[in-house]
């Protein structure tokens, strides 16, 4: 153990330097962090020379054990199940790539993929727009701001099933309050989640209602870090509010928008509670996303092998989309760094 220790400390040292370098690139807006990192680096070099570097691994081991038991093991097991012909209660046999090939030629799967992508793009776009607008409003000072912000955040924390239940009653074609509200402004009654054509937009409305606050909070955090001075000089130069937003605010909060975009995309792809509690994928299969189809396959038809293959493909879709977004983010950061 002691023979390995110095080597490992060396690696840690290297990594610290790398980190510091990168922190400096991103830290133009908050000089303080860079200072602190330098102090830390110096300090850890000192403790290295006195050979007092404490051993932090025991702190991490219990979590590693739990994580591998509840996260890594299921993954390995899912991969294995996905190459087996296996319906619960029947015997299992090796199937090779059969499940994956079946998936490729399963129209219901492709349909659910289209539903997932439609649902996701809508439930990313709407909260991103509304959340940014809300953040711009809540960034200003006005009476009762704290209270209103508190109420605004509540949908995000409310239990999704409870939310879904009340929305289902509100969407009711005859007795629902929403059709009544529409009738007040002269719009004819809708069938909302009970019609194949309107079910996805209706579900997106609920998702938007619930998750716009998260976008708002992230963007609000970004707005808090925007410095005042450029706006003062822009005002002197005669820039109007839109120009100030477009050429000053927007570029400065872009990294935060990107983070919100990534998180929202992952969460929307994974969305289950609201869809399942409100429609179970219906009417028919009109709102069946991959997640819902996966649930039905594994826990209604007990087709565990096929369900596992679907889980693997679904995960690849999520990782691929997140990766594309991360790449975009990386590139925009490079551009930022070069620009400065």
């Amino acid at each position: 153990m002691s023979a390995i220790a110095p080597e490992r400390t060396g690696v840690t040292g290297d990594r610290t330097e790398v980190t510091t370098g990168r922190t400096e690139v991103t830290t133009d807006r908050t000089g303080v962090t860079a200072d602190r990192t330098e102090v830390t680096t110096q300090a850890s070099e000192e403790s290295q020379s006195v050979r007092l570097a404490p051993n932090y691994w025991p702190f991490v081991v219990p979590a590693l054990v739990v994580v591998s038991a509840v996260i890594v093991f299921p993954w390995a097991f899912t991969l294995w199940m996905s190459v087996n012909r296996w319906t619960l209660g029947q015997s299992r046999s090796f199937a090779g790539m059969e499940n994956y090939l079946r998936l490729a030629s399963d129209p219901r799967f492709w349909e659910s993929l289209v539903h997932t992508l439609t649902y996701t793009s809508l439930s990313v776009a709407a909260p991103m727009f509304l959340g940014t607008v809300a953040a711009l409003i809540f960034d200003a000072r006005f009476p009762l701001r704290g209270l209103l912000r508190g109420v605004f955040v509540m949908p995000m924390m409310a239990t999704p099933v409870a939310v879904a239940l009340v929305w289902t009653m509100m969407f009711h074609p005859q007795l629902g309050v929403l059709n009544y509200l529409l009738s007040l402004v002269g719009i004819p009654a809708q069938e909302w989640i009970f019609n194949a054509n309107t079910v996805i937009p209706s579900l997106v409305a609920v998702e938007t209602w619930q998750w716009t606050p998260l976008v708002m909070l992230i963007v609000l955090g970004g707005l808090a870090s925007v410095p005042r001075e450029p706006f003062e000089s822009a005002e002197i130069d005669g820039a109007n509010a839109w120009q100030q937003f477009r050429y000053l605010t927007l570029p400065m909060i872009a990294p935060f928008l990107m983070i919100a975009l990534i998180i929202r995309t992952i969460d929307a792809l994974k969305s289950f509670d609201i869809i399942y509690a409100m429609t179970q994928g219906g009417p028919g299969t009109a709102s069946e996303t991959i997640n819902i189809y996966l649930y039905n396959t594994a826990f209604s038809y007990y087709d565990i092998g096929y369900g596992s293959a679907m889980a693997v493909v679904f995960f690849i879709v999520i990782v691929a989309l997140s990766f594309i977004l991360l790449m975009l983010r990386q590139r925009s950061q490079w551009n930022d760094a070069e620009g400065k």
């Binding site: 980190t19 702190f59 739990v66 509840v70 299921p74 200003a140 992952i266």
Partner: protein, 273 residues
């Protein structure tokens, strides 16, 4: 001066407009839960009825074993959160001090993974071990939710706490465990509170694990409410009352700990990318 006042009033109304869907929703939820069937079926809809149907709430607890489900929820969320804190706080500390940024990727992947893909293998595992009828499967699988939250929030907190004190203690001959327990932990208490609150909320709200793993006796509240919807004669008053009972603890927590929740969510989110 008056233009500034005008500006403030304008902003206030803009905020009111953007908050109104939340306000209307919760008002309507309360209204539904306090109306008799005849008022809930009225057209045009009634917001404030002439007589309140408090009996809806009584009905929820009398007819549906709701106290048992409430207790199940408390047990599952409580145990999963306490375990997550015991494991996750030291882990967050270790990862922050080791600067092991790679391990953060594992947590990111945990966030990306749909809950259902844990469910299939763990469901089989629990079946083989033979603990499916108990609360343990749900407690264990809730760790998938709570441990990443706690680790994530704690990495963020320990990264911002100063190292100098810890190094001083270290030079004075304290073991790393003593440094953690006596120096780092007390400073990180606000972070632990944030991790605790977020872990409780997300575990409490979880639905998908319960819907698969819970039997009649081991349902948590979200599953119990969902079952009311699917198996009962749809009577809106008690349904809305049940929904409100489920989400009320979380909403109260949100109101009282708004600052911590916002801090935790945005810290986690901003690091999350």
């Amino acid at each position: 001066m008056s233009s500034r006042l005008l500006n403030q009033i304008g902003l206030f109304f803009a905020a009111l407009v953007i908050v109104s869907p939340a306000i209307l929703f919760f008002l309507w939820m309360i209204s539904l839960s306090l109306k008799f069937e005849i008022d809930n079926g009225a057209y045009p809809p009634i917001l404030i009825p002439e007589r309140f149907a408090w009996s809806n709430y009584v009905k929820v607890f009398e007819e549906n074993n709701f106290l048992l489900y409430l207790w199940n929820s408390v047990l599952v969320t409580g145990t999963a959160t306490v375990l997550a804190l015991l494991i996750g706080v030291p882990a967050g500390y270790g990862i922050a001090r080791l600067k092991a940024e790679k391990s953060a990727v594992v947590i990111m992947i945990a966030r990306m993974t749909p809950g259902l893909s844990y469910l299939i293998p763990l469901f089989l595992l629990f079946q083989w071990i033979g603990i499916l009828g108990t609360l343990w499967p749900q407690i264990i699988i809730h760790l998938v939710v709570t441990v990443p939250i706690v680790v994530w929030v704690m990495i963020g907190y320990f990264e911002t706490t100063p190292m100098e004190l810890e190094e001083a203690a270290n030079i004075d001959g304290a073991s790393s465990w003593q440094v953690f327990r006596l120096v780092a932990l007390p400073i990180a208490r606000p972070g632990i509170v944030v991790a605790f609150i977020l872990s409780v909320i997300f575990s409490w709200n979880n639905f998908v694990f319960g819907v698969v793993l819970a039997s009649r006796e081991t349902r948590t509240l979200p599953v119990a409410v969902y079952n009311m919807l699917s198996y009962e004669q749809v009577s809106w008053g008690p349904l809305a009352a049940a929904a409100l009972v489920v989400t009320l603890p979380v909403l109260v927590l949100t109101m009282f700990a708004q600052k911590q929740i916002v801090a935790g969510l945005t810290a986690g989110a901003v690091k999350g990318g």
